[in-house]
């Protein structure tokens, strides 16, 4: 049985605070009631899903009307993804049945917190049928044990 090197106290504290941040973000997302669109930035927040598999994290994002060549995925830090995409056309809120506000939506924007550590540099991105799929290999904790 191989035992990997233990984490330092500093690593453990960092990981603890990262977990706390993720938890706070998840609670905030659950509790807040706000529109899915923002007229100041002309953006809409797309539907997304994060799935943790044994070896990877798969993030999918529903991007109908997105121009494929404008889809931009960025990792601002080690545990978040930011996604931006322009729409094929400007969509007036009235076209979506929103009659009490004037304005247009022309891009998607999403900020996604990842629930486990991943190897951002090995990110794979694909766009299939209007669904953006991002695959990220998981980064295992240095405390994990492996049976040989």
């Amino acid at each position: 049985m191989a035992i990997k090197k233990r984490q330092t106290i500093s690593d453990m504290i960092d990981e603890y605070f990262q977990d706390m941040d993720r938890w706070v973000e998840q609670v905030r997302e659950t509790l807040s009631e706000r529109p899915s669109w923002d007229l100041k930035t002309s953006t809409m927040e797309p539907l997304r899903e994060v799935t943790v598999k044994p070896t990877e994290v798969i993030v999918t994002v529903d991007l109908p009307f997105a121009k494929e060549e404008t889809i931009h995925v960025e990792a601002p830090d080690s545990s978040s993804l930011e996604i931006l995409a322009e729409m094929k056309k400007k969509i007036r809120l009235k076209e979506l049945g929103v009659m009490h506000r004037e304005g247009v939506i022309q891009r998607f924007h999403a900020w996604i917190s990842l629930p486990v550590p991943v190897k951002m540099k090995k990110m794979m991105v694909e766009h299939k049928k209007g669904i953006l799929e991002i695959r990220l290999p998981r980064k295992r904790s240095t405390q994990s044990k492996r049976k040989e």
């Binding site: 539907l47 529903d62 109908p64 009307f65």
Partner: protein, 248 residues
């Protein structure tokens, strides 16, 4: 009919017809298919469901308030459609009321339209569709029309309540399910389920129009899908993924 739930008729309701159920569920398959049916068949509102159990929500159309659960009609076809996800704790009385109302209208066949979530849906090139029946007679009808039968598995939500009620009372009911996304609106799956509906009922529906509007529908349905996700979680919809365990 339960006193907490009332169905108010506002138009002529045909007797001995077919009642189709289109409620928010996985991929919003039923609602997308049902909305397309209203357009395609020129269906008109003939009744609405009022209940103090429902959330305090009305839907404005042309400046006037409407119930979030309405019944539409075209010739001998009826369609019950909900524009909001039905909270899991009131699903039973709502479905009970609709079921008893359908019986009072001597409905011959009840058909619910829904989806069956599959993982990696975005990789699927062809979507399969299935039917489940309330009794042997309804099952035979589905087979005769060439529908693939869902022989084993779990079903959660309005269609489960419908099949159970119909089975208990010897009524004919079918659930049509197409493979779909769990969390994203899925017009392609709605088109598949409508293909099966046309086979079953002989209704003429232009599926191509629905597919052409696919992206627009996905955008418009985004918020209803998000709220539906919350209700699906509460009713443990994920159980449909489970491996069935049978004890003989």
């Amino acid at each position: 009919m339960s006193e907490e739930v009332k169905i108010v008729e506002t138009g002529k309701v045909p007797l001995k017809g077919t009642l189709i159920f289109a409620f928010p569920d996985v991929g919003l398959v039923g609602v997308i298919a049902g909305s397309h049916l209203i357009d395609e068949l020129g269906m008109v509102e003939v009744a609405s469901l009022n209940s103090n159990l429902l959330p305090p929500v009305i839907v404005l159309h042309d400046g006037l308030p409407h119930s979030s659960i309405r019944i539409f009609s075209s010739q001998d076809t009826l369609l019950a459609l909900s524009e909001i996800p039905i909270p899991s704790d009131i699903l039973l009385p709502i479905m009970n009321a609709l079921f008893h109302w359908a019986k009072s209208k001597q409905v011959k066949m009840m058909i619910s339209l829904s989806g069956m979530p599959i993982q990696d849906r975005q990789d699927a090139t062809e979507l399969k569709s299935f039917a489940a029946a309330s009794n042997a007679e309804a099952l035979e009808i589905a087979k005769e029309k060439g529908l693939e039968i869902l022989t084993e598995g779990y079903m959660v939500g309005p269609q489960a309540v419908l099949l159970q009620h119909a089975a208990e009372t010897g009524s004919q009911a079918l659930t049509l399910l197409a493979q779909c996304f769990y969390n994203y609106p899925d017009p392609e799956a709605a088109a598949e389920v409508l293909k099966d509906l046309t086979k079953l009922t002989g209704l003429k529906v232009n599926i191509q129009k629905l597919l052409e509007k696919g992206e627009e529908i996905r955008l418009r349905a985004r918020d209803v899908m998000k709220r539906t996700q919350d209700e699906m979680t509460k009713m443990k919809k994920g159980q449909e993924y489970d491996i069935p365990m049978y004890v003989s």
